[in-house]
């Protein structure tokens, strides 16, 4: 196991909601793995929901941007850039930065509200999803150096979801229609990234809106496309996509809509595996879809 390094990079650790509330294992993995890469994750008291840029934003855009600005102000007060483990949280906070910077009247209005709660935001705060931070701030070489068990048995498709690369001008990470960087990060873990065509949304908004059979059809065609291009598993950097593929595939299989499905891994789980954590510690034992060479390879590591 790599020793904990003297921190070279410090971030305010933004947890969001879905991960601490439903997938605390991913939070745990981030807390264990990032210090091994020389990153210190600093907890900030008072961070709230980012807030949700889909439904909550639709409810009231002003409240949405004020709450996002409030989170930014907390990190600013601590003098730290933000790292998130959810791409959607990062997108929300970056969008708020962007909107407030290009619209000084809006910033004044937002600060007018914030000041009544004793807070203030001065200009933008740097925000990165962990995949972007890994790629840009640490570099693939740093990840490669920390790998103890290369995941060479994995032929794996990365699903970037809705907000890891969109909106392009705000998130400024990779080309959403032909992403390469997530593949490079998978390669750093020793895995073989697989290109495929159906790069769109996982379908979770359809599930949330009660359109289950439409949502299952998306999953079926996406996973079939991945398999067709040679993938035996898929990876995600978003807990909502993880939930959709892990639980959604299980339901679709039970309902006879899908065949066996393919194992889905959160990138942090793969990092844990490659960096020497046991199956139990990565939480992989609790997975529902365990099949094929990918899963055999994972089990053989223990």
């Amino acid at each position: 196991m790599t020793d904990i390094k003297i921190p070279e990079k410090r971030y305010a650790f933004f947890l969001g909601c879905l991960i601490p509330a439903r997938f605390p294992r991913f939070e745990y993995l981030a807390r264990v793995l990032f210090p091994k890469l020389g990153v210190e994750l600093v907890d900030i008291e008072g961070f709230s929901c980012c807030p949700d840029p889909v439904r909550f934003k639709g409810a009231d855009q002003l409240t949405w941007i004020v709450l996002a600005a409030r989170n930014l102000a907390l990190a600013q007060q601590a003098g730290l850039p933000i790292i998130t483990i959810c791409p959607t949280c990062a997108m929300t906070l970056m969008t708020a930065n962007h909107e407030l910077q290009r619209n000084p009247d809006l910033l004044r209005k937002v600060n007018g509200v914030l000041e009544k709660t004793g807070r203030h935001l001065d200009g933008p705060v740097e925000v990165k999803h962990f995949m972007k931070a890994l790629y840009e701030d640490l570099g693939t070489h740093r990840l490669r150096d920390a790998v103890e068990r290369p995941l060479s048995f994995l032929h794996i498709a990365y699903h970037g979801g809705c907000h890891e690369n969109n909106p392009v001008d705000i998130v400024q990470f990779d080309n959403p229609f032909n992403p390469r960087k997530s593949g490079e990060l998978l390669e750093a873990l020793g895995a073989h990234p697989v290109d495929y065509l159906e790069i769109g949304c996982c379908g979770s908004p359809l599930s949330l809106d009660g359109k289950m059979s439409d949502s299952h059809k998306i999953m079926k065609s996406k996973t079939e496309d991945m398999v067709h291009h040679g993938a035996g598993a898929m990876a995600v950097g978003c807990a909502s996509c993880f939930q959709q593929f892990e639980i959604g595939q299980t339901m679709a299989i039970r309902g006879g809509i899908m065949g066996a499905g393919i194992p889905v891994f959160h990138f942090l789980e793969l990092m844990g595996l490659a960096m020497g954590l046991s199956l139990e510690e990565t939480g992989l034992g609790g997975h529902k879809i365990k099949n094929g060479k990918a899963w055999e390879g994972v089990v053989s590591l223990d």
């Binding site: 907890d43 009231d60 409240t63 709660t117 949330l208």
Partner: protein, 175 residues
């Protein structure tokens, strides 16, 4: 010579609700997740369906859009359908017409600072992993903010509307 004056265009772009310049090319449907909802195809796309709706407040898929902005990236007219949808949603919420789960979500964020409920099971799981319990220190402040921005009023108005509609239905049944 015929001249075309584009000077008004920029302003409309800024507002975002730019349904008029959509020339129905269908490009935005290529990566749109809502296209997977039964009934849409490349000639009858989700975006046209919303833009042409007589009653966007009650549109069947208004709240299904994932906000992925792929439509925005590819639109040759810079319509930004995602932003139009945000604006239409806001109207629908204000008019008390959004699905009930959206009001529940807004209430939950105001009450707890979180968009997902924390179960006892999660708390136990967290404890086992040595993670801190989830703090809701922000909740008081968020409530105060929602009061100032008017969100609390909108939720209350929607609730009142719901109640009076229920009452209305009850009366009809009594007839």
């Amino acid at each position: 010579m015929i001249g075309i004056d584009f000077s008004g265009r920029k302003k409309l772009y800024e507002i975002g609700t730019l349904r008029e310049v959509c020339f129905q090319c269908s490009v935005c449907a290529l990566h749109c997740v809502v296209q997977n909802v039964e009934g849409y195809d490349i000639r009858n796309t989700f975006v046209y369906d919303v833009f042409g709706s007589d009653d966007p407040d009650h549109h069947r898929a208004l709240w299904t859009c994932s906000g992925c902005h792929k439509c925005h990236e590819v639109c040759p007219q810079d319509v930004n359908p995602a932003r139009v949808i945000d604006d239409l949603r806001e109207q629908s919420f204000k008019n008390g017409c959004a699905p009930s789960y959206v009001y529940d979500l807004a209430r939950l964020v105001i009450r707890t600072g979180m968009a997902f409920p924390v179960t006892r099971r999660t708390l136990k799981e967290r404890e086992k992993m040595g993670l801190q319990p989830i703090e809701t220190a922000a909740a008081g402040e968020i409530r105060q903010i929602a009061g100032i921005t008017g969100l609390l009023d909108k939720i209350e108005a929607a609730q009142e509307k719901d109640k009076s509609e229920d009452r209305g239905q009850g009366e009809k049944q009594d007839d």
